[in-house]
């Protein structure tokens, strides 16, 4: 009968095919619609014009430059935010009293964090890289310090007592209990903070940028270059999918497996 192989092979193949149907339909409609319905190109550009402008900006290197500068800012903000947030979060959380003192402030700051800092960042750093990086780092910092504190606080106190009563040093407690214990929560936090950081990047560039994918997308509004806007949106969507699926989900799966802290 050979049924087992078909059962294994077919759904995968089928799902792929099925998922592509809406894409195909959308592309077909996009190709046919401008000829049938009278849509002004500034409302919705033709596929040809999107491809043409994309080709042009790929050829002169400006598209690659803008995408790369966006990703660079995101990386810098991410590294700065996390390098401060994680050690500080662990330091705060390992002491109950200090954690109590900081918690309301962190909760509050975390609820402002993000795009709402853009105006202040413009005043402090002027329009440009500084303001955008500040907003990203800020967003990632507050989102992740909050999660780091939560992660450490969620380690059962009995484990600390057990480790101490077996003679663990503070260093051992830090490296063998606190860090592994909080790691899953920290990684989940990183992924969440990235979602906010990504919005902060795109939004920050729109309001305070001088280059980058968000900047070129909002700049196009002034000239009604809708083909650039549309292409910007597609790039923003694809970049996020790639980052989230290829980096964070993989990282999360690996560590969750490694430390075996699967929730529920």
């Amino acid at each position: 009968m050979n049924e087992s192989t078909t059962v294994l092979a077919r759904p995968f193949f089928r799902r792929w095919m099925l998922g592509l149907i809406p894409l195909g339909v959308a592309l077909a409609v996009w190709m046919v619609a401008p000829a049938v319905a009278d849509i002004p190109p500034f409302m919705f550009p033709t596929m040809a014009s999107v491809l043409k402008s994309t080709g042009k900006h790929l050829a002169d290197g400006s598209l690659v430059f803008n995408v790369a500068s966006s990703l660079g800012r995101l990386a810098i903000g991410f590294v700065i935010g996390n390098t401060i947030a994680i050690p500080l979060g662990i330091a705060i959380a390992t002491n109950t009293k200090i954690a109590d003192v900081f918690q309301p402030v962190l909760t509050f700051m975390q609820s402002i964090a993000g795009i709402a800092w853009v105006p202040l960042a413009i005043i402090w750093f002027g329009i440009g890289d500084g303001a955008v990086i500040f907003v990203i780092a800020n967003t990632i910092f507050f989102s992740n310090i909050y999660n780091t504190v939560l992660g450490v606080r969620s380690i059962p106190p009995v484990l600390f007592k057990a480790a101490r009563s077996h003679g663990a040093s503070e260093k051992q407690i830090l490296f063998d209990l606190v860090i592994p214990g909080a790691l899953t929560q920290i990684l989940v936090g990183m992924r969440t903070s990235m979602a906010f950081g990504w919005r902060a990047l795109v939004g920050g560039e729109m309001l305070a940028g001088t280059s980058g994918i968000g900047y070129i997308t909002i700049e196009a509004v002034q000239w009604y270059q809708t083909e650039i806007i549309l292409r910007g949106m597609i790039i923003i969507g694809v970049l996020w999918l790639v980052m989230d699926r290829l980096i964070f989900r993989v990282l999360e799966d690996r560590t969750v497996q490694r430390w075996g802290m699967i929730q529920n």
């Binding site: 089928r14 003192v101 609820s111 795009i115 949106m233």
Partner: protein, 273 residues
């Protein structure tokens, strides 16, 4: 490190009511930040438009309230947010259920939904501005969009993961399709729906602030952006604090209780053992 292992110390602390001590420490933290901020203003001595202190911010707050600017702005923002999130959530649940009920439809549409879910609402705003100009329509559509997709996506997952056994069991006991939907599928998808709602509500709030900065003439997002443009930084900070408080109120007074009820009533029953 505290010595919480010693019972005597614990007894002593309970005497002083640890809950009160915690409250005091928490209040102390907030107070310390405000004091440190004021002191840093005195020490660093920058022009107030660049680095306003708590006293400037408080004055600006009083002024904004007295002039009748802040309260209507908050009202506008809350109204837009409530409308956008309500419509977005309803649309998300409806479409999520419709698609989720059909295995074929969910296989066809899931990747597309996923793709649109990953185009952040921030990126849609330029296109919306082209379509509808700078104004409330753009803001509302952006909020509906950002609220709908997480709900749609999670509803879909929730419906897809209802154990088929449950559906078959209730059908073989004579339940109608409607009964299966209302009594089996909906309750077991509800925790997922709520997860989506929470994610959507969180992103929608940020989306609101951003959309108001770009496309509004009122609202707290407009307030912070205009404050910075006119170098009235104290107003910007009043706006930021308002934004933080608004989110805390939405989160604590509204989202958390609903979530608690959902989980107590329907969720996490089957997998706690």
């Amino acid at each position: 490190m505290t010595t919480e292992a010693i019972p005597a110390a614990a007894a002593k602390r309970s005497f002083r009511s640890p809950k009160n001590a915690k409250r005091i420490r928490q209040l102390g933290g907030i107070l310390a930040v405000v004091v440190a901020w004021q002191i840093s203003v005195w020490v660093i001595d920058l022009p107030p438009y660049f680095y306003p202190g708590p006293s400037n911010v408080f004055d600006a707050f009083i002024e904004l309230v007295e002039r009748g600017i802040l309260p209507p702005y908050i009202g506008d923002s809350v109204g837009r947010y409530a409308l956008g999130v309500f419509c977005g959530t309803s649309i998300g649940v409806l479409i999520g259920l419709l698609i989720g009920l059909s295995r074929l439809m969910s296989a066809v549409l899931a990747p597309t939904i996923n793709f649109f879910y990953s185009i952040v609402e921030v990126a849609w705003i330029p296109l919306f501005v082209i379509w509808w100009g700078y104004g409330i329509k753009t803001i509302i559509v952006a909020l509906v969009y950002v609220a709908a997709f997480p709900v749609l996506y999670n509803t879909l997952i929730g419906v897809r993961t209802v154990p088929t056994v449950l559906i078959n069991a209730s059908k073989s006991l004579g339940a109608t399709n409607l009964q299966v939907l209302v009594n089996v599928i909906l309750p077991s998808a509800l925790p997922n729906i709520f997860t989506g709602f929470r994610i959507g509500a969180g992103f929608a709030f940020r989306g609101l602030i951003f959309a108001e900065m770009i496309a509004a003439q009122t609202g707290v997002g407009y307030l912070i952006f205009e404050g910075a443009n006119s170098q009235q930084t104290d107003r910007t900070i009043v706006g930021m604090i308002t934004i933080g408080l608004m989110w805390l109120v939405i989160d604590r007074a509204y989202l958390s209780p609903v979530e608690k009820i959902t989980i107590e009533r329907w969720g996490l029953v089957s997998d706690s053992k």
